[in-house]
Symmetry: C2
Subunit: 425 residues, 2 copies
């Protein structure tokens, strides 16, 4: 039987999950794949820290060289997270002839080209299914069964924390701050939730998925990003009344050589397949010229779902005779032939607080008309407060810049802008 | 640039779609994968038949040897359908050193072990993503990213024709015969619809998926099968009233060494993810011990979605340095260590037509009680006809055999059995 000796970089939740999954699944792996997998060393920051997983203490080390330079170790699995030192460790491991399996979206999004070049140079494998959306097989699906598609649209709910928060706000009408605090108590949001609620986490994942979908480098820095911190219970309630559900969507579209990539709160019609993806579930919806509409839904985070993807990669790496390196473009900068636009066309949900006086609606509507933004639906709530009433407009698709220009025409004394939320179909 | 020369076996809808997709996508393939793909010969039954695709007539042949024995052809793509002669042709092609890509569920379900042995012997590839559920990447997902899972449950809506029929019956209360005739007019059902409406099509696909999910041979003949031909508008309406949607489900479950595989009309709670998969969409829902719940949804049929999967396989085969052969069990007969049960535990929807007389309900309920089948919900419609009223029971989970025994206790003169439909959650 072939023995594959592994080193871990990191042993937090995901590393612990991978350890338990490998241990519990070893007999099946041996029986089915004729491979015995042995974890030899586990790099941690502090060997004395209490751990919930059953890694024997004698495997732990704080010296990265024990993993990266051990000639017996042929595969390194990385779950440290963050760009550095994870990237440098992976590069060193590959230079030393070790295949790398990583669950690190930041390192893959920012340094993919360097990692891939190192893998090709050393003729080792580089596997990263776990880096995006946990157990959902989006990386392998984009890389293999969908490779004969021109994908023009990919939209995902790819952050469980924000989806939990928005689902609860939608369902119970609760306020953002309250739900965030609850999510933190339940361990569904970090003590510092910025990376999730500001959309960074989703933007890293979108950069990786859009690169694969479009066969082109879509750098993280090109992703427009707007978080959910300013979302109000009132916007969600108004949208709900009009048949829309609010989600933090990661959106990538391609039209010829023009690409748009953006992460922001988005209203979706309530019968859209993504509208029903609630709580901590993740899902990626896409459209290709041959496959048509497709959606993959599942657990995008959590120790065992992420470990499922990591161990899937470990088994693939351990049984591969040759490691496959994708050949599509993947350089540090976007291809010169591509244009990234921030003037996308989309529909808009606009909430304003307007003076309750004759002629005001005409003047507000006039601001949109001046920029050729056409109104699809309007709702006026009869709740007058301080002489002002809430007005909600949903527009037809309009260029982002026209919309921003129209909003600048609003006269604050008669019409205060409260919210601008993009709407997708 | 590497040139890969291909022969087609068959040129119907799928073959035509593959031709068009390869033709339109050739520049991308050449640019990205450094592979040029040339279709040299296309086996058809009748070269004079009019075709909607643009295959040049000089490529057509009625002699299988022109494809199977041409030394220049290194890859054979099969879309003939049916067990024979497709299986023999594929075996011959592989014996002659050609890699095979197939969209043929029947051949894969019935002769997978022979096909795989031939591929291993000749060290060629065997690819069959397109054989199950069109563009939905269920084969590659089960084979690679999910391989570190003990999958205990897989449920799919994997036949578009029956899902179209049942969706319309649910939505509009229409009768089976009427919707079937419409579906035939629209090209969504075959002139002879038996393979779809009797569940054969779904059973072939389930056999393939369950084999991969359980890493064990699940022969087609083990799949219990019940079609949708006896489904009535009344059952669908009663189920709808009680919060259930009727689907033709393909279900595979594993509990230790016990396996159940069945295709039958099934009521699902209306908030189940599969309940919202309507019309000609397909979806596969599964649960694994590490990945947890997952659902893949998309176009399970149609020329371009199926061609998407075929060309994905062709590109994988064309760029592979080594073809991977799965090592898990895949023999002609089920493993001796497995038990196939037909005494599964499930909930039941029972509709009877009972005498409108005192004591009848007690006697009917008594029949269930005698077999320890417990009632969860009961609905009595007050529409009396010929002195009889419809009674609907939904039971708690009970073994199939207990349920069948209970139904045999019903006294036909006071209680006529109208429908028995299984319920899943």
């Amino acid at each position: 039987m072939k023995e594959v000796v592994i080193g871990f970089l990191g042993c937090g939740n995901v590393g612990g999950g991978v350890w338990e999954l490998l241990k519990g699944f070893a007999p099946e792996i041996a029986h089915r794949d004729h491979v015995s997998i042995r974890v030899k060393r586990v790099l941690v920051r502090d060997v004395t820290k209490a751990r919930s997983c059953s890694v024997p203490p004698e495997l732990l080390t704080t010296d990265p060289a024990d993993v990266l330079y051990d000639p017996e170790i042929s595969l390194v699995a990385e779950f440290m997270g963050g760009e550095q030192p994870a990237t440098e460790y992976m590069l060193t491991a590959m230079k030393n002839g070790k295949t790398v399996v990583t669950a690190n979206k930041v390192a893959v999004a920012l340094n993919w080209h360097r990692l891939q070049a190192a893998a090709q140079q050393s003729r080792v494998g580089l596997y990263y299914e776990a880096s995006v959306c946990g157990a959902i097989p989006i990386i392998s699906t984009l890389m293999t069964p969908l490779q004969a598609n021109r994908i023009d649209k990919l939209m995902g709910i790819i952050n469980g924390t924000t989806n939990y928060i928005l689902s609860r706000m939608y369902q119970y009408g609760e306020d953002y701050d309250l739900v965030l605090r609850d999510a933190q108590k339940l361990g569904l949001a970090e003590p510092n939730p910025a990376s999730d609620v500001e959309g960074m986490d989703a933007a890293y994942k979108l950069s990786v998925m859009a690169s694969l979908a479009f066969h082109a480098r879509v750098p993280f820095k090109q992703v427009y990003r707007e978080g959910i911190t300013r979302v109000t219970a009132m916007d969600i309630a108004c949208g709900k009344e009009m048949g829309y559900v609010l989600k933090l969507l990661a959106i990538a579209k391609r039209d010829g050589s023009t690409i748009e990539v953006r992460v922001h709160p988005t209203f979706l019609p309530k019968d859209h397949p993504l509208s029903r993806v609630d709580g901590s579930f993740n899902a990626v919806y896409l459209h290709g010229h041959a496959c048509k509409e497709m959606m993959l839904q599942g657990r995008g985070a959590g120790d065992m779902p992420t470990a499922s993807a990591v161990v899937g990669d470990i088994l693939q790496a351990a049984t591969a005779e040759v490691h496959v390196h994708p050949t599509f473009a993947n350089t540090a900068e976007p291809d010169a032939s591509l244009t990234f636009t921030d003037n996308w066309k989309t529909r808009f949900f606009i909430r304003v607080s307007a003076s309750d006086a004759p002629g005001v609606l005409a003047r507000v509507a006039g601001c949109f008309a001046r920029e050729n933004v056409s109104i699809a639906t309007m709702m006026q709530k009869d709740a007058v407060e301080d002489g002002r009433v809430p007005l909600i407009f949903i527009t037809h698709a309009a260029p982002e810049q026209s919309m921003q220009a129209a909003l600048r025409h609003l006269e604050p004394e008669i019409c205060r802008l409260e919210s601008v939320i993009r709407v997708e179909a």
